[in-house]
Symmetry: C2
Subunit: 343 residues, 2 copies
DNA sequence: CTGAAAGCGCTAACAC
DNA sequence: GTGTTAGCGCTTTCAG
């Protein structure tokens, strides 16, 4: 009822030792049902809530995991958070979120610092932070329990969860090929993001497989932003022989390309097909709706959190490092069709 | 260097008492410069980092504030988080984020529970949670230090930061009137959101001021979502005498209306002007770009956090309750023009 | 099955 | 200026 009820108050009321109360709180065995009952009702009557702070100090575990990110895409971040939060909820952990602007090695030290001061039980890293070998190396050296969300699953020494960016990009490219497109361009993304690099690879693989040679000016580099998509689109549409389909490494750029197409009077998909990657909400709200690839971001971060919990709780015994891949899938909507005959 | 360096190790190395180390750590006065120097270098040499957990337990303060929200809009939430995070960073606080699906009073108890177990120093509430009197009342009864982000600034007993929704909506409506529109419709939002209610009031005020009577079927109710905007738009366009301008209580619905307009072959703004509210990124990425109202969400939550810190640190003396309003402003873009003569 | 005692690593009074 | 002594509210040996 009143302000500060402690475990001692409960023990006194239940006429047991604080150790017994502690046992009940932590669902430990070796407590007689009737004792347990007495403790429970004392807790109830006093409105006792154990202090996480005190528990953390004594148990030397905070039940807090740190989530570090540096990603300009709101939807990506928000999905990562939701997934992690959900997993945390289930397991009684708290999440501490930390947007860290990418500044190379400095950031790594900041993360270690926070890990040590705040005594996180573990840390989750998302791209592009998870893609920076130097940063990851510092965390390893500091023996921080980390799980990475990253398409790169080798050599980090940490468990990783990712998706099959390359294969999904291959599939989407094949989809365009199967519609009859031969002049397919690609707007690649920010060089720091490994994932978008893999998407470019997938695109190239599929075209090679179809024995189509891509003129180099069909591959333009964007920066993952809407604006960079506009620039890229303009460049492609002004080519002497413009493409009939444009595959963008992410949705924001695809929307940029779409807008430019509309602005200069091209009709989508009649004059040009456009596809993106990520399936952010806007792809379903523009006109025409964009075809894209659904990335299972929530599931990925949920999974990452679960792996982290297992390692935390498994202690040092869980030494094998797992790499999980969760599949992305095509979302086909209005923005694609057969190429028009006059192209 | 090694795993667990404590304040005792530092004290031993610096040949002082732990209290002196503590003084240095907390920048307290009454330490001779040379002693301070000795401590500092001992800290440096040992790589000591004070445990926040231990500090929290001893000081009976966690330096953590809880942020509770239940808002479907990703951009809103993300801006609130960023603002709060920034304020926290500056003042050495941590933020603990908690998406709480609105389930009436149950949620209030959950918040109190978390506050007591996690020992937050304070709590920030955003709409629509902050708009629920019953919920707020429970927090008051539990004596939780709270700051609300809410357009309603009276009677809660807590400090509040909000924006001038009604006045901004009045201005936007006047803007449409000044372009010559007389048939202006309004798509209102979810009834649980007080802010969108105020926007409707602003719309009505401006029309009353202009002595224009609005037919009741010009005001339709949406649910703040894109889809509900589509439905609302369809309804309005099918009216015997359709409006020449549509004001939506938020941007998502405005985008829905815009999409429907495009789909049924109306040209915006030639056939109909459309405006939204919030200035989310998509408004600048659709074609034509939407006029809207810029809500200073980041600044609001930053301010809310600062007020909370002041109250936490000011103890019980800071008893006056402040209500801060940060102005919203019009963002005029392509989606509005004079009504065409044939309407 | 249960309890006594000893911390966890820091801050807070109050001496000196 | 600085140190001593108590805690903060739990978990954890280790006896019983």
């Amino acid at each position: 009822m009143s302000e500060r009820v402690t475990i001692d108050d409960v023990a006194a009321l239940a006429k047991v030792s604080i150790k017994t109360v502690s046992r009940v709180l932590n669902d430990e065995p070796n407590v007689r049902p009737c004792t347990r009952q007495a403790v429970t009702s004392a807790i109830e009557r006093l409105g006792f809530r154990p202090s996480r702070v005190a528990r953390s100090l004594a148990a030397r575990r905070t039940f807090i995991v740190g989530l570090f990110y540096d990603n300009p895409c709101t939807h990506y971040v928000s999905n990562v958070q939701e997934g992690a939060l959900q997993a945390c909820d289930r397991r009684g952990y708290d999440l501490s979120v930390h947007p860290k602007p990418f500044r190379g090695v400095v950031t790594a030290d900041e993360i270690v610092e926070l890990y040590r001061q705040a005594r996180f039980d573990g840390v989750i890293l998302t791209p592009p932070l998870a893609d920076i070998p130097a940063l990851v190396a510092v965390l390893r050296a500091a023996r921080v329990p980390v799980v990475l969300i990253s398409p790169v699953d080798r050599g980090s020494g940490f468990p990783t969860v990712g998706t099959n960016d390359r294969v999904a990009a291959e599939e989407m490219t094949r989809q365009l090929l199967s519609l009859g497109h031969k002049k397919i361009a690609f707007v690649s993304g920010h060089p720091d993001h490994k994932a978008v690099g893999l998407r470019l690879e997938g695109y190239r693989n599929a075209l090679r497989e179809a024995e189509i040679v891509v003129p180099e000016d069909y591959v333009v580099t964007g920066l993952n932003s809407f604006e960079s998509g506009e620039v890229a689109g303009l460049k492609l549409f002004n080519l002497p022989s413009p493409p009939t389909a444009i595959f963008c490494a992410n949705d924001e750029m695809a929307v940029g390309v779409l807008k430019v197409a509309n602005t200069i009077g091209l009709s989508v998909p009649r004059d040009v097909s456009i596809v993106g990657f990520d399936n952010i909400p806007i792809t379903a709200q523009v006109w025409p709706q964009l075809s894209t690839i659904q990335q299972p971001v929530r599931e990925m971060s949920e999974r990452a959190a679960e792996i982290l919990f297992r390692r935390i709780e498994g202690g040092q015994f869980e030494s094998d490092i797992e790499h999980v891949t969760i599949k992305s899938s095509l979302v086909l909507r209005e923005s694609i069709s057969h190429p028009s005959t006059n192209s």
